[in-house]
Assembly symmetry: C2
Homo-oligomer: 289 residues x 2
């Protein structure tokens, strides 16, 4: 499924290599939404494995944060996309929730306001790019501008068609300025979505998450799949690759995205910053107070 | 220590009542930095008690968040102030870290930039006020404008002197617009600070947290205590009260601030939003897809 093809950057082994989308044509029907690629164990094992990632991912996060506080210019941007109920919020709550919230910059993108629209679709995205040392997380993103915008015909085909290249240029610009981009498509089946929407309608503590518009969007499922395929295919660049995360099992999804984040942090390998002062001198100054 | 005085709002019982600063003159030397007010148990008990707050505080946070997503206009703003090493970051990491990062808006205030300064000291603070349903956390705040600004004479006495009233007006405005303000002063002793700075100088993974300027600030300890006393005394209003958190024991500090947040959430008592659609109709519409 995730065979490396020529021209696609190797992801450094590990889970990323297994979930990376190979360059070339994308057919989402060939991706199993219930897979647990790279993990052998039960649901309970998976939940425990996620918890156990906490200390390590949090330690690496602090290193990156420290680097950013001392002149480093790197950051990570995790882009989360997926159909309603695919679990973008769940990944943030259970995966990102393992980390220090001080080092996270989470942005949830809703329909753009008129003020945002007139500045071009990438303007508000740029505002949300993580600062040095931070892990930025996008709950939806500029990809909505080639997903809902395309499916709902919010702009002409000519406009959305040009956006793929605009996105690639934008992401290349970010990469060049020190942002490591990780794009995860949370892949669920239409049946699983139905079950999750039913759950929301059966539990009064979840009514607020339900919107009648969700059913209307659901009816356009095939159109969305086509739009996702195009987005993944046309914006799957070596520097800003797409991962397809099987997401019918929530525990696997949370573990997988967090593992990908951890692998990304380790590859960046931020080191504890050296002192930019003389330690012995400072010890003496402090002792004298 | 935290006896209720006339004119000061009752904090609804619990830990808040015990740590609330009574109206009137403030003498920080009468507040024990090593106290464990309201908690009986060991350090390990305290750490466990904090962990155990997780599910409850996180549930209430989600209710507030849900309320904000469905038209509610309330939010919480936790202001953290304290000398270097007092643990503002620690409270966020270990206390706020128990919650869903999606519902947190954390802002760390550094020295203002020229662009910020020319807009008045409250401008950048207003930018960071939490959205409806969010818990905002300020790591330092507008209080620096009557703390370091006063101690370091960054502005004339006439200017900082007027700021207390300006802050009170600003906070009253926020309160009126639905923001519940909780101000915590993390109270440590000068000796404890010395020990923590020594620790930073002895551990290469902590060098990045150390700044030679910290020792210079430390030399002004009495001036800072005076400035803190004035700030707490003059800006201790019924709607935006100050709590003094004994902070020489990190575990107690984290538990205490988190408990205060929990009590605040419970007092707001946000309820799960009712459905603004007909549940049965939606179930049928969904079933038909």
């Amino acid at each position: 499924m995730a065979k490396q093809k020529k021209g696609q950057k190797a992801a450094g082994g590990g889970l990323r290599e297994q979930l990376l989308v190979p360059a070339g044509e994308v057919d989402l029907t060939t991706y199993d939404t219930r897979a647990t690629t790279g993990f052998s164990g039960t649901k309970d094992d998976g939940k425990l494995a996620l918890e156990n990632l906490g200390p390590e991912v949090s330690d690496w996060q602090e290193r990156l944060f420290a680097e950013g506080r001392t002149g480093g210019e790197r950051s990570i941007l995790l882009v989360l996309q997926g159909m309603d109920t695919s679990g973008k919020g769940g990944v943030i709550r259970h995966g990102a929730g393992l980390m220090d919230p001080q080092g996270l910059k989470i942005t949830s993108f809703k329909a753009p306001t008129p003020a945002e629209k007139r500045r071009g679709f990438l303007w508000r995205i740029r505002q949300a790019v993580p600062e040095h040392g931070m892990i930025g997380i996008f709950d939806r993103s500029h990809y909505e501008d080639v997903l809902i915008a395309r499916v709902r015909e919010l702009v002409t085909p000519n406009v959305w068609n040009r956006r793929y290249d605009q996105i690639n240029e934008f992401e290349a610009e970010l990469t060049a300025s020190g942002v490591t981009i990780v794009k995860c498509y949370l892949h669920i089946s239409a049946d699983e979505q139905k079950a999750r929407l039913e759950e929301r309608l059966s539990d009064p503590t979840k009514y607020w998450k339900y919107n009648p518009g969700d059913v209307d969007e659901r009816k356009l499922w095939p159109d969305y799949m086509e739009a996702y395929q195009a987005a993944i295919e046309r914006c799957n660049t070596p520097d800003a690759p797409w991962y397809v995360i099987p997401s019918d099992r929530k525990w696997y999804r949370n573990w997988a995205v967090t593992t990908i984040l951890l692998e990304t942090l380790k590859e960046l390998n931020p080191e504890w910053p050296a002192a930019d002062f003389d330690v012995e001198t400072e010890k003496k100054r402090l002792a004298a107070t």
